[in-house]
């Protein structure tokens, strides 16, 4: 019998309103607080990611993204519904895990925080 659930899955998803973060706790003990702007920026839907063949994740900056609701999708994903009405992203558990930046998962890849500060920096310099 194959162990069908060997992959880590979220056991708790907590929308921490005070910090604008979503804390995801996994079956293997990992946990991290995903900033809302980071989650929204990496929305996996076709509107955000486009229909191109590229595997590279695009980051679409929505700095003040606020969550309206989190819903489970079947046995494999979460649907984040945003206050601006955007709700087409189905975040599979695997995808969410790939976005995890907890100390064990390693430092942030060229990520939103950096990108955003970069953007802001550019704005600051009037470019």
């Amino acid at each position: 019998m194959s162990p069908p659930m060997a992959k880590p899955v979220p056991t708790e998803v907590n929308h921490v309103r005070a910090r604008d973060k979503v804390r995801i706790t996994w079956s293997d003990g990992h946990f991290w607080e995903y900033p809302l702007a980071y989650l929204r920026g990496y929305c996996p839907c076709a509107l955000c990611q486009g229909h191109g063949a590229s595997d590279e994740k695009k980051f679409v900056s929505v700095p003040d993204a606020k969550l309206a609701e989190i819903r489970p999708v079947g046995n494999y994903a979460l649907e984040f519904r945003w206050q601006d009405g955007h709700n087409t992203g189905i975040y599979t558990f695997d995808y969410l895990r790939s976005l995890c930046r907890c100390p064990q998962c390693g430092p942030a890849e060229p990520g939103p925080e950096k990108e955003r500060s970069h953007e802001h920096g550019n704005q600051g310099r009037g470019l």
Binding site: S2, V13, N14, H15, V73
Partner: protein, 380 residues
Amino acid sequence: MLGIFGKLDWKGKQMAIATNETVLEALKKVQDPEIHRDIVSLGMVKDLKINNGAVSFTVELTTPACPLKDRIQEDCNKALAHLEGVSNVEIAFGSQVRGSKVGAGPTDLLPTVKNVILVASGKGGVGKSTVASNLAVALNKLGAATGLLDADIYGPSVPILMGIKEDPKKISVNGGVKLAPPVVHGIPVMSIGFFLEPEQAVIWRGPMLGKALHQLMADVHWGDLDYLVVDMPPGTGDVQITFSQQLKVSGAVLVSTPQNVALADVIRAKTMFDKVMIPIVGLIENMSYFICDGCHKKHEIFSRGGAERAAEKFNIPFLGAVPLMPSITEGGDKGVPILIQDPQSEISKVFLDIASKLAGQLSIASEASSRTESLRIVSS
């Protein structure tokens, strides 16, 4: 003083008395051969009575279709054979099917159904509907309350295979209107075909389909069922996605023919179910061999053992090989599944065997799902 320790036998030696504790302790040595945990901690030992050394209890199997009843009985007898103070052992068997549905959905569209099994294949023409219908009949024959849902929008053939002449009826349940599925051969059956005009093709697109399927699940009064067998359309399309998103499912059973090309499609189906995290609980090889009615020889028309090898490779339990026989298609055309028409035939035995293996796999899945933590979504 001696009273609390036990009776004295005629030699004045203290004689041990079997108590609930000693008997249960001994029975802890008996494992459920499929779940690999002892039957006491699984809560399978019920109604334990001890009367002057005569021990009686009921083993509550996780499915009436349990293939390993004899072995459990033998192991219980062995475990108690040398227990002091036991003069006689009487074991009865009952069954209580356990639910194995997984999924985090906020509402369960089928709350009265304990196990939902998707019968799927990567491509059409492998006899999936025939397998699904006979599997439902076999589970029912083994004593489990079983329903059949035909979700094959492209070619809903279950009404023909099961010989259904009537349409579902509207009934009122708890103030709302629901559809009561027609019951044939002891099995409530619902089909998307009931809602189509004969010879009309389904040319719906995604959203329409999703809505129709949702109604087939939510608006049907299934009643209490141990198993609901779902005949899926072939492939990896909208219906599969709708089910994986909206329904709590126990697992998928893949049907294939022995050829390599069919197996390539099994792999595709497996990849899809892996992606949506629906466990695959078994693989069935259909049209596996042909038994000539003249010479009674087994002819393996489409190569041999391909599905079994694939099952091994992908670590999927192989549930069995169904022969190709004219009687099975004849039965289907007449609306009498082979298990009803000819219960003693080889093919009927094959289906009963597959059904009990499947029930065993679902018991294992249920044990696994009871141990996995469910997802909590909160806000703080």
